[in-house]
Subunit: 370 residues, 2 copies
């Protein structure tokens, strides 16, 4: 057998993995398309028509490299948040930014704290730098602020992850609770506050913008409320030196020219955002009603999905999800112990929720072995 | 002073840097736009009209996440190269893939070999993992295959970088020379063969496709000949296990849905590519003539730019570049000793090369202090 170039010790031990298998991969395996795509918390209503028009308009310009400073988009984002351009960094979605944060703050063996069952892509990036993941169970379907804090202190963790509103449960903390959590953190622990769903929940869940703390990075995205998941664009905001530190390792030409233009146009159409937020709220209500009508328990949600307690164990909820998939309805479910009793359904278009409503009784009956 | 979360030791020592300052940043600083954008080796002719139409068509679809497997684009690329899907990995441009390769094969203190004055973004990524860059001077304006090989052996380097055709000199080696270089490399040294300009030079410069070697990764891009620099999409091909290893750390949702569609459409329009390659060859000829007419020495080029020996030292060529910038003509220049006597001019549109031709005599006279 020929010798091979060795991978670095950290990378060598990692599994080959995809944190999320996409619906396209499932469709290829199944050999047929889904009838309802309500599993990836995408915004089925799509981006603003103005954004779509703008993307079409700049298609021809893609021969030019993107601005590596993402300047225009940063200016627009900074104005939107009421902070300085120096407080913003743009990345290839929150995923890309999480990868950078892991590399910046966690070395081999360093403890990194998150909730058990929280965003797997963060865990993937922590593993990729050899970080040691310390997980804290959810409490009553919310990330446990006290538990996270205890773990951070116990492990002297340099990095902790919290999403608010939360995925996969849809739960949230009010801003004052988050603020207390931030204030209680050791100064030497960096908090990544993932607010991917921030625009879709109650405004009272979002702490006031404050970019003075050297141990806080907040992240938002154009993938959710702005309907641009495919374009790969998110941003982080924080204290200026923290933001400058991203310059040390980020892929400066990582965010496409198209994404920068689309993001800017999306921010500019806040009327569309308001419309969409209302539609999402109605969709959540609809999903909750369907769950109720079938004797299941929908959890309160501050996101564009509803997590539904199927009233059994993980095995049962797994059967419900599989039943939906076999009926060509793409949904997902939480997998961590305690959370795994649930399925997770994204707000889709009306006809997609119709299909979900039609199929649910049969799926439940089959899962119950009736 | 409040304490701060410490950066990892490797990241802490790095400078905050942008490997390439974009023309947009220069325009912001100058307070006015360039009249000719012929400095970033972009394809001024733009992508195929079919690609542009396709991008406009799918703008609305961007509410969906991208396929994390980049499957359709991989199928198209594999067919194009005559290899298997398992031999292809797609990334956020070659830049993104270079970042992954650095993380896969170079740890803190590991020697990584490249040419002095070769692609700075590779060096940036090597620095970001704490790698120790070992540079080999060009010889007669080509990357020195023998010098690189000597350095690899001397330093027991796990990773070496070679671009063919080369940037910033535009020079190239014929395929048989590259094949000899590959065969002579230690089995435990990974070669990154950057073929970003591969479609633009003589076919005889590209080794036959062979994905059996565990120590070779070849990279190509949609940024150059396909005119999609802004969309951020490149690919690497190689032995299946090497390609699988990217799964351990890559950002699976890094390449936008738009980029995947655009890349596929670009590959499908080989007639446009042939047209563009001919236009680029004519443009090179034009730039060479302009240089000749002004008593400068254009170097032979297998790319979409011509590097021009200004006949003086680095200081003189620097004045020529600055003169062009001050006349609103965006060009760049090599900076390494020996190469720095040159400026680098990309094939632009006819009217841009007209402006270059008009301004060159005055710029040269000013640089000479006449």
């Amino acid at each position: 057998m020929p010798k091979r170039p060795p991978l670095t010790p950290v990378v060598d031990t990692l599994p080959e993995t995809v944190p999320f298998v996409g619906p396209e991969a499932q469709e290829r395996e199944r050999g047929r398309p889904f009838r309802a795509r309500i599993g990836a918390n995408e915004l089925s209503f799509g981006p603003s028509p103005k954004v779509i028009a703008r993307m079409a308009e700049v298609a021809r310009d893609q021969w030019m490299y993107c601005d590596p400073d993402n300047f225009d988009l940063k200016v627009a984002t900074a104005a939107h948040l009421g902070v300085g351009v120096e407080n913003i960094v743009v990345g290839e979605g929150i995923d890309g930014l999480l990868g950078l944060v892991a590399r910046m703050y966690a070395g081999p063996g360093d403890a990194v704290v998150t909730s058990l069952g929280a965003y797997p892509t963060f865990n993937f990036h922590v593993a990729s730098v050899g970080g040691r993941l310390v997980t804290v169970p959810y409490e009553q379907d919310r990330e446990s602020l006290e538990g996270l804090l205890d773990a951070v202190r116990r492990e002297k963790a340099p990095l902790v992850y919290l999403s608010n509103p939360d995925n996969p449960m849809g739960s949230w903390w009010e801003a004052d609770e988050i603020d207390r959590f931030i204030a209680a953190l050791p100064e030497t622990t960096m908090l990544v506050l993932d607010e991917a769903y921030g625009e879709l929940g109650p405004a009272s869940a979002l702490p006031a913008v404050d970019v003075s703390r050297p141990n806080l990075i907040r992240m938002r995205t154009f993938s959710k409320a702005y309907g641009l998941a495919g374009i790969r664009c998110g941003y982080a905001f924080g204290e200026a030196q923290v933001i400058r530190d991203f310059e040390k390792i980020r892929n400066h030409y990582g965010v496409s020219r198209m994404a920068q233009v689309a993001g800017e146009a999306a921010l500019a159409d806040q009327a569309w955002l308001a419309e969409v937020v209302a539609k999402v709220a109605a969709g959540r209500q609809r999903i909750a009603s369907i769950a109720d009508e079938n004797g299941l328990k929908p959890l309160a949600s501050a996101t564009n999905f509803v997590t539904i307690d199927c009233g059994g164990d993980g095995d049962f909820a797994g059967k419900v999800m599989q039943g939906m998939l076999s009926r060509d309805v793409f949904i997902r479910k939480p997998m961590a112990p305690g959370l795994d009793r649930c399925i997770r359904v994204s707000v889709g278009l009306d006809h997609e929720l119709d299909i979900f409503a039609e199929e649910l009784p049969g799926v439940l009956a089959a899962a119950r072995g009736n």
